[in-house]
Symmetry: C2
Subunit: 459 residues, 2 copies
């Protein structure tokens, strides 16, 4: 049912504008690049951004799949009625001024939903930033940048925070599949979207920024079911009393007790994140296979970052794997005498791409190792390129059938970007900070254990 | 005494090379851009990178202030002797293969230090990446990038991690005053550098990446004294048993009990950081005035990020300031009805640069407010520029005499970079993540309290 929001064949932008200072300008501008048919609707008629505009949705010569409503508040109801009459089944209402303004606004919002439902229409918003489907180049928001295509679905209850994450992801090359700013969640809410993304073949993990949920039971039900198919990562704002007060003033929803949320989400098998980076780090890990256990092996060309990673791994409740005798003797064969033949395996600064290949492969073959973290900083010898090191890791991962997760920590800023890109294209997420890789390893292990427990219960 | 390392009038690079695969190539290449006189020394004589080379330091027509030694290990002793005989008082030994290789290496290292001391020469390293003084454009390392000039001194016991931080800082525009890779700390150690940077007028905070310290008492003495003049932020690796084992295998130094370190550093008034970002976030804050208390006011144009910031502020043990009645009535005069007249002050998406100016100024005037966090995401109306918002914050900060700290959180990736730059140039550090700003606010409050306590004891 939500498919019309993500794969609309035709779209009406109600309130499309020629004025670059209006949101209706950006939204139509973003949508013009979309493959489907996109119609500007503007009461003045004429043209919008060079495209023939319609005075009403009713005038559009075909039934549109989705409408994006960005007219002033007093015209929103008419826009929904017109769209509903024309057979449109999906409305994204950008316009604000409803529930978040108080009692009267709440009533108007409820009437709007009632009206939409009378046409069998689903509604995202109001008071939201819009929707993106990066898998098909759909940007039905007024955000002026897009992240690369990826496999993480992001749902944000704060439009502006969602926007900030989109800008950040675009810069850091963090790929998303879908983005939804849910706004006031008058109709479509977290539960609907968990359900939809759980079945979305382009999405490997679902991440949610939550301030408050109205129907807790429905949310947890959806969460429990969704988690059977996809990991769900929750960044719940309002952990403290100050944060909770700020959240309830912001979205008008009760933030609720954080402890109750946390334990409910964890019991349902969801993962809790404390920061945006942690949420994205965890979500990006799920392009990898799930690990069989919690034993992590670290390889590196520099001691310091490996020490920091070891600390983070242990603090997350994971263990440094005890490498087998065979592994150690195989590593000894080709590593220089100064290398550390233990976990972390410090191959020292002279390590080549070939060394990364061999070491990764040997560790992947060690039955004591469940997860590998491959750290690389700019090598002191032979230029600035880290791509050969990335290639080594990729080759080993592929040759071993991509059966165990390998997380990369190529952490030298811009210098590591070509390597980072290469790793990403080959299914290995790169993390620029050891703590992010540890969070990702934790998320993989935790989700894997949850699924196993469920299987044990069933069998 | 350490001044010759940071402000040398003349430098010899012993082992300068024409071969781009050698470290002696990069070091000389980096130093050629330095204002002082830099002499390549190479046993083969001839020219190095177009500059007349000397076969020995003894042949250089003047006494050099500093030598950088990057010859193979067996020639290091001769290089030190020649430099010492020529009156050089500062040696940076890049070459590895000493204490970190075992008992024999340790002895050789001790002999080297003895030799250096017989000439009254101080020695940084061996087994290090080198030294930078960004305030004068000195890069005596083989790192191929430099961060902008700033006011944070960074000392790293891991050369590679130091390098990774340098690359990261260069990318993110994080300014440093000095950088020292201390390597094996055969002679110059953390204590010496704390002492030196405490008196360095270009340095406002000292940050240390530590794996293990040999002389704990000397270190703590230096820390206690240094902290009277400058804040010291410690990132101590080896928090867990896995990390501690990895650290002791890496630097050969005993990591020691983390708990003991932590409490000793904290008692001395030092600040502990858990990650690289936290360390840098804290250190960058000290271009600001110290706060009188722990009460934080948050202003924002978006609810979500302010909620996250409120959580982080409270979790750090700071409080959200209770705004005075006067403040609230003054804010009400110009903010739209939808704005939240409480702390955080949510000025909503339409907030202009003028609004940021007014709100920041009013909050700075409120006696209940000690610290301000000014959050800004891409405004939904009127283009992508956040510079007018930055200008508003800057104007208020300057008009109010820069007496209370203002931390910025302009968090929209690349889009916020011009604003970030402007803020930085005007003495306001920008943080891309709410948690980093909270860490910075905490560091300011904590250091301020430490100084006050010391004053109380004295008076």
């Amino acid at each position: 049912m939500l498919e019309k929001f993500f794969l609309p064949k035709s779209i009406a932008v109600i309130g499309a504008s020629n004025n670059p200072n209006k949101l209706g300008y950006d939204i139509f501008h973003n949508l013009k690049r979309y493959g489907g048919r996109v119609y500007p609707v503007n009461v003045k008629g004429g043209e919008v951004q060079g495209v023939k505009a319609y005075r009403s949705v009713r005038e559009i010569p075909e039934k549109v799949d989705m409408c994006v409503v960005v007219v002033p508040k007093k015209f929103v109801k008419d826009a929904i009625r017109d769209s509903g009459e024309s057979g449109c089944k999906a409305a994204v209402v950008i316009t604000a001024g409803f529930r978040e303004t108080g009692e009267e606004g709440r009533k108007e919002e409820e009437e709007l939903v009632k009206l939409a439902r009378s046409y069998g229409m689903r509604l995202i918003g109001p008071n939201c930033v819009g929707v993106m489907n990066l898998n098909v180049g759909l940007n039905a928001t007024f955000i002026k940048k897009e992240p690369p295509e990826g496999d993480v679905a992001l749902v944000s209850q704060s439009g502006a925070l969602g926007g900030a994450i989109i800008y950040k992801s675009a810069d850091e090359g963090i790929g998303l599949s879908k983005f939804v700013s849910v706004g006031n969640m008058a109709d479509v809410d977290f539960a609907d979207l968990i359900e939809y993304f759980a079945d979305d073949s382009e999405t490997k993990a679902i991440s949610l920024y939550i301030e408050g949920v109205r129907d807790g039971r429905r949310f947890l039900d959806a969460l429990k079911k969704g988690i059977l198919k996809k990991p769900v990562i929750v960044l719940k704002a309002g952990r403290t009393s100050s944060g909770a007060r700020a959240a309830s003033s912001h979205t008008g929803s009760l933030a609720g007790s954080f402890k109750i949320y946390e334990s409910a989400v964890k019991q349902s098998g969801g993962l809790m994140a404390k920061t945006i980076d942690e949420m994205l780090s965890m979500a990006r890990a799920f392009k990898l296979p799930l690990p069989a256990g919690r034993n992590v092996a670290i390889i590196t060309n520099a001691g310091g970052p490996a020490v920091l990673a070891a600390d983070e791994v242990e603090e997350r409740g994971l263990s440094l794997a005890k490498l087998s005798a065979e592994t150690l003797s195989r590593l000894k064969e080709f590593l220089p005498p100064m290398a550390a033949l233990k976990n972390p395996v410090d191959m020292i600064a002279s390590a080549t791409g070939e060394d990364y290949y061999k070491a990764t492969k040997i560790l992947l073959e060690d039955p004591n190792v469940d997860i590998i973290i491959a750290i690389c900083v700019v090598p002191t010898f032979g230029g600035m390129s880290l791509t050969e090191h990335a290639e080594g890791v990729i080759k080993a991962y592929r040759e071993m059938g991509m059966r165990k997760p390998v997380l990369a920590v190529f952490m030298s800023g811009e210098v590591s970007e070509p390597a980072e890109k290469l790793l990403g294209e080959n299914g290995i997420p790169n993390y620029r900070r050891p703590e992010d890789a540890a969070a990702a390893a934790y998320a993989l292990a935790k989700y894997s254990e949850h699924l196993k427990r469920l299987k044990d219960v069933v069998s």
